[in-house]
Every structure is written in structure tokens, then in C-alpha cells.
């Protein structure tokens, strides 16, 4: 089976500090992998490395199309949620993405007025609408309420069933069934 994301003997150095080395990981269709570890152990950096935003010091990274939801919202604050999200979607129906995260009633609200949790849901809606096979989620539960967490679990479940893969970084347990990778040990 072909893998969607593969790290081989990867080492990453940031700001002169070696975060990890000889890291191997592989995501195949249907995989959900949670990266855990204490603060500063390199969880977010691992995701940015997977996304191609950082360069590995050693080793190789092979990737398929990905989508990333991290702390940076990347939605124009002065526009309405619908228009800001439209910027990023190609084929996926926008209303469907909003509906899945339960924020369709916010479509006409300017992004700058969204609460932390609502903004997080909007970032997840962008990932849902991205057509990418690999989802990279950085602390996806941050700011989410119970309903949001449930929606996230459901949509991850259906993404995996469709042959996608998810790589999430979180220091708290995520709902659902996850393989685990511990950093910083």
C-alpha cells in the first residue's frame, strides 16, 4: 500500500536545538496518529515539517497533498466568514464545510468577531474543505466546546473511512482511536 506521509530517519533542529532525530513515521490511508509530548518537545515543528514549511536537517520526508490547521487562522479578519473561507476552497461546497463544524449560522459574521472556539472551528472547516488526503491538526481541541469536539471526532472518522489520514499534535487525549507517537522521551 502506498503511504500518504512518510518520514525516514528525520532530524530537525530549530534555533540550534536538536528537537528529534532518527524519527521514522508512516501514515497510510485510514491512519490516525497522535503526536504527544511535553511543551517544547517539537510537536508543532513536526507538523510544520510534515507540511513542508520547515526543512529537515537529515532524512527524507515524502508527502501527498495536505491541509494544516494550526494557531494561525489565515482568514481575513475584516471579511465575513463565508468570503474569507471562499478564498481557500476550490471544489468543496463551502456551506457543507461550515455545516459539518456547526458554524453555518456564522457565515455572514466578520472573522474578527469570532470567538476563539468559533475561529478554531472555522480553521477546521477550511481543512475539511481542502480536498487534501492528509490532515495536520495542531492542538485541534484548543478552544473547542463539547459539541465542537464531537463534530471533530465524527468528521475525522469519516475522513479516515474515505482513505484519508490524520496527524494531530496534542498534549491532551483526543476522542476516538489513535496511534500514538511520543516525542521528547
Amino acid at each position: 500500500m502506498t503511504s500518504l506521509l512518510r518520514f525516514e530517519g528525520v532530524a530537525l533542529r530549530r534555533g540550534g536545538r536538536l528537537l528529534f532525530e532518527n524519527l521514522d513515521l508512516e501514515l497510510q490511508p485510514g491512519d490516525a496518529l497522535q503526536v504527544t509530548g511535553p511543551n517544547g518537545s517539537g510537536k508543532s515543528s513536526l507538523l510544520r515539517l510534515a507540511a513542508g514549511l520547515l526543512q529537515a536537517e537529515r532524512g527524507t520526508v515524502e508527502r501527498s497533498p495536505l491541509a494544516l490547521a494550526d494557531d494561525n487562522l489565515a482568514l481575513d479578519r475584516e471579511r465575513t466568514l463565508r468570503k474569507a473561507l471562499w478564498q481557500w476552497l476550490d471544489h468543496y461546497p463551502l456551506d457543507r464545510a461550515l455545516e459539518i463544524m456547526g458554524i453555518e449560522h456564522l457565515a455572514r459574521v466578520p472573522v474578527r468577531l469570532l470567538s476563539t472556539g468559533q475561529a478554531r472551528k472555522a480553521a477546521l472547516a477550511r481543512v475539511i474543505g481542502s480536498d487534501a488526503s492528509v490532515w495536520l491538526l495542531d492542538e485541534p481541541l484548543n478552544g473547542l466546546d463539547a459539541d465542537g469536539a464531537w463534530r471533530l471526532e465524527t468528521v475525522i472518522g469519516s475522513h479516515i473511512k474515505r482513505g484519508g489520514a490524520v496527524l494531530a499534535a496534542s498534549h491532551q487525549p483526543l476522542p476516538g482511536v489513535w496511534r500514538r507517537l511520543e516525542l521528547g522521551t
Binding site: 514549511l53 520547515l54 497533498p65 494544516l68 494557531d71 487562522l73 482568514l75 478564498q87 476550490d90
Partner: protein, 204 residues
């Protein structure tokens, strides 16, 4: 994706477009106060003044060209989608030019009246500005990308951009249109690569 990005940047740029234009007019208004209302003197230095005014007008929005998108992760999201940084920079150059240059060329008309500029001089300066402003826009985006994320980026950008814009200024004010075009093309061709390298280097 690139068309969407360009449209978005245009809209964002045009939101504040009156500011550089008002600035441009203001400089043209201030000069007669500073050097006196001697029409002969004014008309002789008018083209140079318009160039200085255009330079500062292009410099004004420089902090908003790249930094907000870097800080908010827009550049990251574009990279993840496989959009080359060079294309992003080119889109930003085109959007920046469209959001300030056409209006500036129009505003040069009332400004020329304030400086007692003759019709022939005005036409020549307009042509030189039309040729030189794309290079100026390219330079502005490259400098904005190089300084993005640095403290006091605005002043630093000014210090970087103004000396590099000197060739544009010299050939533009001297009405050496072919040389002006050459410099403008050189800046247009080089800036996307400089900006792209700067954007990539700024990722940590």
C-alpha cells in the same frame, strides 16, 4: 488560487489607497510653500517633485504588503497548497501596482497644476511614471518581504527601498525612458525571487 489571491490583495490594497494618494497630493502642495510661488522655478523642478512624491506614496503601505500575511499564516497556507512563493510575490506586485499606480497617474494631473507644470512636461512625466512605477511596486514588495517580521520594519524598509529606487528616480526624472524601462524590467524580474527567498527564510 493565484487569481483569488490577487483579487484579495487588490481589495485590501484599495481599502487604503486614498492614503498614499492624499500623501502624494500633499507633497505636491507643500513644495510651493517651501520654495516659494515662483512659477518658473516650480515648473522646472515639478517633474522631480512628482517623482519624490510617487516614491514616498509607494513606500507608505509597505508594512501591510507582506507582514500581515506572514503573521497570520496566509503565506504558510499558500505554500501547503503548492503555490510557489515566487508566484505569491508576483501576485502581490501586480496587486500593489494596480492599487496605487493608476490612481497616482490621475492624481498627477491636479498635482501638476499646483506646480505650474506645462502640458508637454506633464505628458513626459506621466509616461515615465507609467514605466517606472511597476519597478517601484516590485521593489516595494521585495523590501516588504525582506523586512517582514522584523522590529521597526517600516523605517527599515524605507532605508532599504529609497537607495535602491535611486536609479528609477534618476532615469525617470531625466526622462531617459529606455533606461528607465530597463531598470523597471530588471526590478520586476528580480524582485519575485528576492521576495520568495525572504519569505522562505522567514519561516521558523
Amino acid at each position: 488560487m493565484i487569481a483569488k489571491l490577487m483579487g484579495r490583495d487588490m481589495r485590501r490594497g484599495c481599502g487604503g489607497t486614498w492614503l498614499p494618494i492624499a500623501f502624494f497630493l500633499l507633497i505636491a502642495t507643500l513644495v510651493p510653500f517651501a520654495v516659494g510661488p515662483d512659477a518658473k522655478l516650480l515648473s522646472r523642478i515639478a517633474s522631480g517633485i512628482l517623482w519624490i512624491a510617487a516614491l514616498t506614496a509607494a513606500l507608505l503601505p509597505i508594512e501591510r504588503l507582506v507582514e500581515p500575511d506572514r503573521a497570520d499564516g496566509v503565506l504558510d497556507q499558500l505554500a501547503i497548497r503548492g503555490v510557489a512563493e515566487e508566484s505569491v510575490a508576483l501576485a502581490k506586485i501586480i496587486a500593489h501596482w494596480l492599487s496605487f499606480a493608476p490612481l497616482l497617474l490621475i492624481t498627477a494631473l491636479p498635482a501638476s497644476a499646483l506646480l505650474a507644470m506645462g502640458g508637454k512636461d506633464l505628458a513626459r512625466t506621466e509616461l515615465a511614471l507609467a514605466i517606472g512605477t511597476p519597478g517601484l511596486a516590485a521593489l516595494a514588495v521585495a523590501v516588504a518581504a525582506v523586512t517582514a517580521g522584523l522590529p521597526r520594519a517600516g523605517s527599515l524598509a524605507g532605508l532599504l527601498l529609497l537607495p535602491l529606487a535611486v536609479p528609477l528616480l534618476i532615469f525617470g526624472a531625466a526622462n531617459a525612458l529606455l533606461l528607465e524601462a530597463a531598470i523597471s524590467i530588471l526590478l520586476l524580474a528580480g524582485s519575485p525571487f528576492v521576495a520568495a527567498a525572504a519569505i522562505r527564510a522567514s519561516r521558523t
